[in-house]
């Protein structure tokens, strides 16, 4: 990694930075309040929380409101991180979007597909960025995090990471950190079939981020987004080096979405297909999580 010397002063990360003012929707729940504390400790500017019916209370000394509207009347708000339980998560996301918030990190898992489709349609219309659902969030090490990832496994640096998997990201990030390969921004796309950002969106951002010198892409079986990403990388002659890891090589043929799913996906979806496509696009693919660091150093 010697060709990517670490700098003292880091520029902005992608999507969030030190000056991002965020609210926490679902701040009064166990997860919401726990991670609000951790995010504050990390230096994230959490300005307010929203939990309907809990307006007027405080969590970690942060004021809680009943509605996003009220939070915005009292604070500058750039982003929202959502911990609201699945049945109510779409409502929370739409509330944030309708109130003009342009960056959403949706931690909640088990959101119905129909709800996610609605969220994404709205986000697209108003040009908002959605991370998740079912994501560990985003961290720009040393600057800010909007997410639930353990902060100590990250360190500032030049590697951009984008992943469909939470703990696997931690596994790889901590191995990079141990090997002194710091990260510019690490972003979890989310494990659901329908997510906001995808690999291609994120690669475009990393391309424009001067801080990022190389990218780690962590995929898994299911869907065809890795294959489409490989196509994109090849077609656009993507200028920064990428190392990939794909989980699920030993998995049996997964749950297939009937004939319709098979027709939509063609042969895509298996680890084999994804690895082949990425390799053909010039991406180095690691066999084991610990190989990622080695391949970055080549």
């Amino acid at each position: 990694m010697s060709k990517y010397p670490e700098k003292e002063a880091y520029n902005l990360g992608i999507i969030i930075d030190k000056n991002t003012h965020a609210i926490v929707q679902g701040i009064t729940g166990a997860q919401g309040s726990f991670h609000t504390r951790l995010m504050l400790e990390y230096g994230t500017k959490i300005v307010a929380g929203v939990t309907p019916g809990k307006g007027g209370t405080k969590v970690c000394n942060i004021p809680v409101y009943d509605t996003v509207e009220e939070a915005q009347e009292n604070h500058p708000v750039d982003a929202s991180i959502i911990f609201v339980p699945a049945p109510f998560a779409a409502d929370a996301a739409l509330e944030a979007l309708e109130n003009g918030i342009k960056i959403l990190v949706i931690i909640t898992e088990h959101i119905p597909i129909k709800d996610s489709i609605e969220i994404m349609e709205y986000a697209k219309r108003v040009n908002a960025t959605i991370i998740g659902p079912n994501t560990p969030g985003i961290i720009t090490p040393g600057k800010s995090k909007l997410g639930i990832m353990p902060a100590h496994i990250f360190k500032p640096g030049n590697i951009g990471m984008v992943s469909r998997s939470g703990t696997l990201t931690y596994e790889i990030a901590s191995s990079l950190t141990r090997k002194n390969l710091g990260q510019s921004t690490c972003l979890g796309l989310g494990g659901d079939p329908i997510t906001g950002l995808n690999f291609i969106d994120t690669l475009k951002m990393f391309e424009n981020d001067s801080q990022t010198r190389a990218i780690v892409l962590i995929g898994e079986i299911g869907g065809n987004l890795e294959e489409l990403t490989a196509e994109y990388i090849a077609r656009e002659k993507y200028p920064k080096p990428i190392v990939a890891f794909i989980a699920g090589r030993s998995a049996p043929p997964g749950k297939r979405m009937g004939h319709a799913g098979a027709i939509v996906m063609g042969k895509a979806g298996t680890a084999e297909s994804k690895i082949k496509a990425l390799k053909e696009a010039g991406v180095k693919v690691a066999e084991k999580p610990s190989d990622v660091a080695k391949l970055l150093r080549i």
Binding site: I113, H259, I263, G266
Partner: protein
């Protein structure tokens, strides 16, 4: 959650989509009574949730009452891909002129629903899609518009229909989309939808998979989800009840981890070192000691499991909780199988202390741990 064919057909029928007249039987006697009512020629279809039922002999024809009895007897004794047939659906035989395909599922890239239609349907639809992609109509559905009458007619036209047939099949597509939305389906398909000799359309087979995450909006299925998932292993049912993601595999190394990606990578690494995982078990994020204990019990109850690999990278999950869960499980069940534990992350020191105090060793590296568990299993487990 997969619905049985008869459940799907009853829904289609309630939405005004023509389906063959039919009834459900769980005994030969019932089958006979139904057959007398519907009158042969009839089709008798095993009601199982596994795919490929037709090719496995689960769909039989009967042109007499005697034949219905015989066929019913045969099917009700049959196992399809290891699943015993508990009920059969008996329906009138349709005069088929043409088999078509129509289905709706999600499109990840476009973040919307997509309709798939083909004027050639039936069991070989996927092969057709591969060899003759031009026969397949993909119609992306704008989430805010839905699949309207006019969209349905656009598809019907592309399938080559006109006149009253265009309107009739269009109406069926429109209604299927309505079911898709009302029932939170992640897949809904009619394969085949049949054009009859008289030019009518009938959904001869139907398949609905409801989005598990949306079951809170469909309490009638949530209940039945636990009641009659008769095709699952006991471990799978137990896992479901404990909100754990469990998949039975064919090896002998039991695996427990947190996060689907990490567990998958664990399986891959075991395999890389020459081992064979017995299962996939993801405890999810922030698992409590109770949940960890439940996970251990489930994996250890599988007689195929000879050794156990616990791989935890604590983020929201706390290593001390995991350690406590392991001790709790040990207290309640006799654990005689060897365990390899990898435990790092949040509250790592406390977790390690708890386990090493009672003599359970803990490793730091997932790959080392994988190598070790493979080695133990090669020696026969014990």
């Amino acid at each position: 959650m997969k619905l049985f064919e008869y459940e799907a057909k009853n829904i289609l029928s309630a939405y005004g989509i023509p389906t063959p007249k039919g009834e459900l039987a769980t005994s030969v006697d019932q089958a006979r009574k139904i057959a007398e009512k519907l009158r042969p020629p009839l089709v008798v279809k095993a009601q199982v949730l596994v795919a490929g039922r037709g090719k496995a002999g689960g769909i039989l024809f009967a042109d007499s009452l005697a034949k219905v009895k015989k066929v019913a007897e045969k099917l009700l004794k049959m196992e399809i891909k290891g699943i015993p047939v508990k009920s059969i659906w008996i329906e009138e035989k349709i005069e088929i002129k043409k088999e078509l395909y129509f289905g709706i599922t999600t499109d990840r890239l476009n973040k919307s629903y997509v309709a798939i239609a083909s004027s050639i349907g039936g069991m070989d639809i996927e092969e057709i899609a591969e060899k003759h992609p031009e026969k397949i109509i993909k119609f992306l559905i704008n989430p805010k518009m839905g699949l309207r009458s006019f969209h349905a007619r656009q598809i019907a036209r592309k399938m080559g229909y006109e006149g009253s047939q265009l309107n009739a099949i269009g109406k069926i597509f429109e209604r299927l989309y309505k079911i898709n939305i009302d029932y939170d389906a992640e897949l809904i398909e009619m394969n085949p939808i049949v054009e009859t000799a008289e030019g009518k359309f009938v959904a001869a087979d139907a398949r609905i998979i409801i989005d598990d995450n949306a079951l809170f909006r469909h309490p009638q299925y949530k209940k039945r989800f636990f009641e009659s998932e008769s095709e699952l292993f006991p471990q799978e049912i137990e896992a479901m009840k404990n909100n754990l993601a469990y998949v039975k595999l064919e090896g002998n190394i039991g695996v427990i981890g947190n996060g689907a990606g990490l567990v998958m990578a664990t399986l891959d690494t075991i395999q890389l070192y020459g081992g064979k995982p017995a299962n996939f078990l993801d405890v999810g994020g922030g698992a409590s000691a109770e949940k960890i204990a439940a996970a251990l019990k489930i994996v250890l109850s599988d007689p195929d499991v000879k050794t156990l690999f616990i791989n935890i990278l604590g983020g929201i999950t706390r290593c001390d909780e995991v350690a406590k869960g392991i001790l709790e499980a040990k207290k309640k069940i006799e654990v005689t199988k060897p365990m390899v534990i990898r435990l790092v992350g949040t509250n790592e020191e406390e977790g390690k202390r708890i386990l090493t105090e009672v003599g359970i060793p803990v490793l730091d590296s997932m790959e080392e741990a994988a190598e070790k568990v493979v080695e133990i299993s090669r020696k026969g487990g014990l």
